[in-house]
């Protein structure tokens, strides 16, 4: 009995696969006019039809494989990228995930109409079964689209997080033996760890005797940020480099004093230029005060 049931389901899936392959052109033509395809593939209608055909082919392959409810079915692999881009494009125009899901669900309607036309008696059991099989398959397609879109979002966030980590901590060589790190944004524990590592590496690579930590771009200096700064300064000192913390704005200076942070052991300067002048002077390099002035 159970075997018979499975056979029948399998048969229905095969039949659906055959239908999808036969009616590929018509289905794709109808889908090309749905909002999902029309608003994404805007270059030409042919482009939308081609995209539709690719999806129909994928569905036919999945149906032929008999794994109607499996969103990891290999048949979806070919269109996963395309579906992801489609969903992303819809999301960019302001569609919510629910709306996109609805638009994918709407694709079933036009395919179902064509499917019904295949049967002389729409009330027949075969027709019902075919419609049911199509509904299951389209439901799976909907999940595939959603899953692809969600994964793309998660990937994007992870990529941006990584980018932020790297972008935020460039070590710049200002002069021979002088490196600088312009710190930008929130200096949490993870970020300051990256800063410390890249700064210490740069001290070794550039054989730097002076390292300038510029905090102009750090909006808030609380006790944790101050502690991270002091640890970085101490680590650099162990490696034989002197650290200068620059970019201390008046508001930050007052806040540090009220908070009670003792930066007495750290050389600080108001601006990056002052810090550079200090480091140069310590190396015995004299820079003229103004352009055109000849050092005596």
């Amino acid at each position: 009995m159970r075997v018979a049931e499975q056979d029948r389901t399998h048969g229905a899936a095969q039949e659906l696969s055959g239908f999808l392959r036969r009616r590929r052109e018509q289905i794709a033509q109808r889908w090309a006019d749905t909002p999902l395809f029309r608003t994404v593939f805007t270059v030409s209608r042919d482009e939308a039809v081609d995209a539709g055909k690719a999806v129909v082919d994928a569905l036919a392959e999945v149906a032929a494989g008999g794994r109607l409810e499996d969103i990891t079915a290999p048949g979806f692999g070919a269109v996963r990228d395309q579906l992801g881009r489609t969903a992303a494009a819809r999301a960019r125009t302001g569609s919510t995930p629910a709306q996109i899901a609805d638009e994918v669900a709407d694709l079933r309607v036009s395919a179902a109409e064509l499917l019904r036309a295949e049967y002389s008696d729409p009330a027949a059991r075969e027709a019902h079964e075919a419609a049911l099989t199509l509904a299951v398959l389209m439901g799976t397609l909907r999940l595939v689209v959603m899953e692809t879109a969600l994964n793309a979002g998660a990937e994007l966030i992870e990529r941006q997080r990584q980018q932020l980590m790297e972008v935020a901590t460039p070590v710049i060589q200002l002069w021979e033996g002088i490196v600088a790190v312009p710190l930008i944004g929130t200096l949490d524990s993870a970020r300051s760890q990256v800063v410390m590592e890249s700064l210490l590496e740069a001290i070794v690579d550039q054989r730097a005797a002076y390292a300038i930590l510029d905090i102009t771009g750090v909006p808030t200096v609380d006790s944790l940020v101050a502690q991270h700064l002091m640890k970085t300064v101490a680590a650099a000192r162990l490696m034989g480099a002197e650290c200068i913390v620059s970019g201390i704005r008046p508001a930050i200076a007052q806040t540090i004093v009220h908070l009670g942070i003792d930066l007495g052991s750290v050389v600080t300067r108001a601006g990056l230029a002052d810090a550079l002048a200090y480091a140069l002077a310590r190396q015995g390099i004299v820079v003229p005060a103004a352009p055109g002035t000849i050092p005596s």
């Binding site: 909006p219 808030t220 609380d222 944790l224 508001a251 806040t255 009220h258 908070l259 009670g260």
Partner: protein, 156 residues
């Protein structure tokens, strides 16, 4: 604290992760800017908020902060109320001492924050949790010196 009939815009934010701290700083900065805080006063309040929110996260095991805009006569201010249901503070005097820490920090969170705001109230009980309420005013009212009268549990 009498408030004008104008509804005090009050928002509540969770303190559960490091990312929440950044969001709180942004919200406090926005509110302080709207209320006309000067740059120095703004920076002080944001820094205090950062310290207290981190205390709530690290020592209180997470909680919430309520940010309330105050309108009292001609002056405007901002009240921040940090609430956690953590272990509480056993020795308040010790916790308020500069340099005392139980968490590996600099030990300036509570004592330092108090110096950065105009009003500071600490309500805590071992086993029940801790509520820290601070108020900063946009006008140039000088911050009260440490000690006298600024320590009012339950105020605000």
């Amino acid at each position: 604290m009498a408030e004008e009939p104008r509804p005090p815009a009050s928002i509540s934010l969770p303190i559960d992760t490091d990312a929440d701290l950044a969001r709180i700083r942004q919200q406090v900065r926005q509110a302080a800017t709207d209320l006309g805080f000067g740059l120095v006063q703004q920076t002080k309040l944001i820094t205090a908020a950062s310290e207290l929110a981190r205390n709530t996260l690290v020592h209180g095991g997470g909680g919430v902060v309520e940010i309330t805009r105050l309108h009292e006569g001609h002056r405007t201010g901002l009240r921040l109320c940090f609430v956690d249901h953590g272990p509480g503070i056993r020795d308040v005097d010790l916790a308020m001492t500069d340099g005392y820490t139980s968490g590996g920090g600099l030990g300036l969170g509570l004592s330092g924050s108090k110096r950065l705001v105009h009003e500071f109230a600490l309500d805590t009980e071992p086993g029940r949790g801790t509520t820290v309420t601070v108020v900063a005013w946009a006008s140039g009212v000088p911050a009260p010196r440490s000690g006298a009268g600024s320590f009012r549990p339950g105020a605000g």
